[in-house]
């Protein structure tokens, strides 16, 4: 099946130039933007958790309330763990992390469907541990990042809501 055939099932909401490229492998700029959004979402989740924790402490002991003290490495580690969990769950379910959803991207396995859990988990760890591996997609002839090469995945333009 050609790219054009693959794009036939795409939504018509995409403008013509973009619609022609639906299903094609995405470039480094879009993927970097998606990665930044994912990082921001992870940080936001950690911040929300921190605020929730502080709120619970405030309710339990209003007079002795103080902001919870956590060292930055702990917070950073927490954010990385959250990111891994977030990416694993979203990739294996729909193939779209929050950033991918925003940028209209989707992660696919070798069979053209979202990767399975183990592959998603390993790929998430790889992405969080070596985020610069993403930039290999700028050089790769198939727009593949280091993680794509390691786990036989690809990232395509997909503005369609469902895989």
């Amino acid at each position: 099946m050609s790219v054009a055939d693959h794009s036939n099932r795409e939504i018509t909401a995409a403008p013509r130039p973009a619609g022609a490229r639906q299903g094609a492998r995405a470039g480094v700029v879009s993927r970097t933007a998606a990665m930044v959004v994912d990082a921001a979402v992870s940080a936001a989740i950690v911040a929300a958790g921190y605020g929730l924790w502080a709120g619970v402490r405030l309710l339990r002991a209003p007079r002795r309330f103080a902001w919870p003290e956590l060292p930055f490495p702990a917070l950073a580690s927490l954010a990385l763990i959250v990111a891994v969990v977030l990416l694993t769950v979203t990739w294996t379910s729909t193939g779209r992390s929050p950033g991918a959803h925003l940028m209209g991207l989707r992660v696919l396995g070798t069979d053209g469907s979202p990767p399975h859990l183990g592959r998603s988990f390993l790929r998430a760890i790889a992405c969080v541990a070596v985020p610069v591996g993403l930039f290999w997609s700028a050089v790769s002839r198939r727009n593949a990042s280091v993680q794509d090469l390691l786990f036989s995945t690809s990232v395509v333009y997909d503005w369609h809501e469902r895989p």
């Binding site: 099946m1 050609s2 492998r25 940028m103 696919l108 053209g112 002839r141 198939r142 690809s154």
Partner: protein, 352 residues
């Protein structure tokens, strides 16, 4: 007091003063006292009347009844006059003992009137026989000789006669007034506008001021009154539909100062008295939530919000990043001196 039928003579007519009828025995009565002479004559007259009624007796009886009525009316007036005279006079021990000259004089006058009435009745039947003896009696030398003594005695006798006849006279007058007064009252009512009269002459406010409402209310047995009221019967007779139809709701509502009413409502007190927890416990919240969830198409809401997310701004960002991807790829490819990239995605999973 029983009403005395016209035409009948009362039984106790012995004391009634009668004009002495002339006769043979009249000469023998020369030594009789005035009272004795009258009493004897009365018996004779009574017998004559009862034994042989003459053709003119009915006229006489009618006249007699009329005179009795007049005398009764006069008696009432005279008694009232005597009372008035007595009231204006200083206290008199003699009056207290029953020898009131005023009463005596009034009774005497009445007795004279009664006697005159009886005489008039007799005269109607025996005019010719009565005039002469009466005149002769009046010019009796004995009468003129001791005029003062006779006058005093006559007054006493007349008073006694009056007292004896008083009951009869008053009864006659009463029965007469019984018939006459309503007629007079009706005639007066037809001629007089009582409402106007009351308005002009009666100080209603003064009368109302004098009314002791508290005392009246104390005497009113409201419970007994309420028990006698058949509320069900009253309610049955009320045409509620007509009442509701004609009830001026608009007027009432316009007249209501709703703001003032609301200002007087103590909302806090109402809330305090409201069992909110009880209400909440009685509500099947889970069922309501389930119903709401069923009514709301959550997937559609999420899709629409996602669609909103993929709005113009997002679409623009996607297109720009897509173009940036192409630009970067072209630059890199040019630097690396190679052909266009192979961007074909892996084919979708074949369902077969």
């Amino acid at each position: 007091m029983d009403r005395i039928p016209i035409g009948e003579q009362p039984d106790d007519t012995d004391n009634v003063v009668r004009l002495p009828a002339p006769g043979p025995e009249d000469a023998a009565d020369g030594d009789l006292s005035y009272e004795e002479a009258i009493a004897a004559d009365a018996d004779a007259t009574d017998d004559e009347v009862s034994s042989e009624p003459s053709p003119g007796s009915q006229i006489a009886e009618l006249m007699g009844q009329g005179v009795k009525v007049s005398a009764g009316l006069f008696a009432a007036g005279a008694t009232a006059l005597a009372d008035a005279l007595r009231a204006t006079r200083p206290a008199d021990p003699e009056a207290e003992q029953g020898k009131d000259p005023a009463a005596t004089l009034a009774g005497a006058g009445l007795g004279a009137a009664v006697t005159a009435a009886e005489a008039a009745a007799g005269a109607a039947t025996q005019v010719a026989d009565t005039i002469g003896p009466a005149l002769s009696w009046l010019v009796e030398p004995r009468f003129a000789k001791d005029a003062t003594e006779v006058a005093a005695g006559a007054a006493r006798v007349l008073d006694g006669q009056w007292k004896a006849s008083q009951a009869e006279m008053v009864a006659a007058a009463t029965s007469f007034l019984h018939e006459l007064v309503p007629e007079i009252a009706r005639g007066l009512a037809d001629q007089v506008d009582l409402t106007t009269l009351v308005r002009e002459r009666v100080d209603v406010n003064a009368i109302v001021d004098d009314v002791d409402l508290e005392r009246i209310l104390d005497r009113v047995d409201v419970d007994a009154l309420a028990e006698r009221i058949d509320v069900d019967a009253i309610v049955e007779r009320i045409d509620m539909e007509r009442l509701a139809r004609e009830f001026p709701v608009e007027t009432v509502v316009e007249g209501l100062d709703v703001n003032a009413v609301v200002d007087r409502v103590d909302v806090d007190r109402i809330v305090d008295r409201t069992d909110l927890l009880g209400i909440v416990e009685r509500l099947d919240v889970s069922a309501i939530a389930q119903e709401v969830i069923e009514d709301v198409d959550l997937p559609r809401v999420i899709r629409e919000s996602s669609g909103a997310l993929a709005g113009e701004t997002v679409r623009s960002a996607r297109v720009q990043s897509m173009n940036a991807d192409r630009l970067v790829a072209r630059i890199v490819d040019r630097v690396l001196r190679r052909e266009a990239r192979d961007l074909a995605a892996p084919p979708p999973k074949d369902p077969s």
